[in-house]
Amino acid sequence: MSNYGIVTRAFPADYWTAHGDEILDTANELHDGNWSARESRSLLAHGLRTRSLAATGGSLRQMWIQCTILVLTISTLAWTTTAVADQFGLVSIELEGTRSSTAILGVVLLVLLSRSSRWIAALPVVWLVSLVVATNTTSLSWMRLAGLTALCAWAAWKSEGRRPLSAPTMLLLAAVHTAALLVDVYLFGFLPIVLLVVGLFTFHLEPRVLGCVAVSSLLIIVATFEAYSQHSPGDLALIFGTIVTVTAVATLLTIRGSRRLQRVM
């Protein structure tokens, strides 16, 4: 058994199959067969870097561009999702003018960066569902933001010229969120953060699949934490079981559509 069993999970499967034994042999030779914390850190960093490169096209520059876009996407979604949650009275966070403007700016920037289009293209699904549920909204700020996001996402989708990989996942998430909203149990808002955790623990760095929705709901999750604690253990178990099932199905649906994703898993 390797001294570095856990950190080796950071490497893409095909890379590790080809070079894993050699790297481990070298690590053991360098440290006389003993485990080294420094080695663990460097293997983890190398593995994540290799995985990120594999998932983002192979060049370091491309990887950083994609990471920057991902941060922008997450920020935008965090702000906009807060707006939606606020509209439903789920949280008490007010959408300030500055936040709203920054979110709009973020959406426009995302569209200008062509590589982001596949990620942002998933947004219309979420917005469409939200709009259907919230047709009686009086918040112009929210409507403006939603409309602009949908428009930009549509444009990005058209410019990309192909269906985004995340579409099945997003459709499923949207359905779950809608169902949760309709029965007034927005505890399913926890779903995104579970997706993120699952993503992190499987070193699944494909941002289109998990990251966008996951981090975006962080604000909601924090704000609804108190409500969550009021439920019985049985309810929590049921909710957790549902979340795990939905997460697994969503991930499988997305992976099935991507050969590249299957390689880096």
Binding site: D21, D25, T26, A27, L30, E39, A45
Partner: protein, 107 residues
């Protein structure tokens, strides 16, 4: 160029070496200052291969274990020479400014 990268290229100047030998040689050349981990080493080797400064010369099996031997390319040689020149200029500038430098203490 970062110091580990420089010593990796320098280590491969004379002959193709496998990963562990590169790390050992780099440590020796740097008087023990550059102690590469496998993660750092293979990260740098992969990157240098991508940049065309190294190529995989051959693969061998030693005691059933696969080992890749890396060879420096012409581009790698140029990069090493350019870095050595930069270091020499920095050394000369230091000597001209603060006078003769004391000999570095050996490990």
């Amino acid at each position: 160029m970062r110091e580990p990268t420089y010593f990796i290229l320098l280590a491969l100047h004379a002959e193709p070496l496998h990963g562990y030998a590169v790390a050992s040689r780099a440590k020796e050349l740097s008087d023990g200052r550059v102690e590469l981990t496998a993660g750092t080493l293979y990260g740098a080797l992969d990157r240098l291969v991508d940049e065309g400064q190294l190529v995989v010369d051959r693969e061998e099996k030693v005691n059933g274990r696969k080992r890749r031997y890396y060879r420096i390319t012409e581009a790698g040689e140029h990069a090493t020479q350019a870095e050595a020149l930069r270091l020499r200029q920095a050394l000369e500038a230091a000597a001209a400014t603060i006078g003769p430098l004391p000999k570095a203490a050996t490990a």
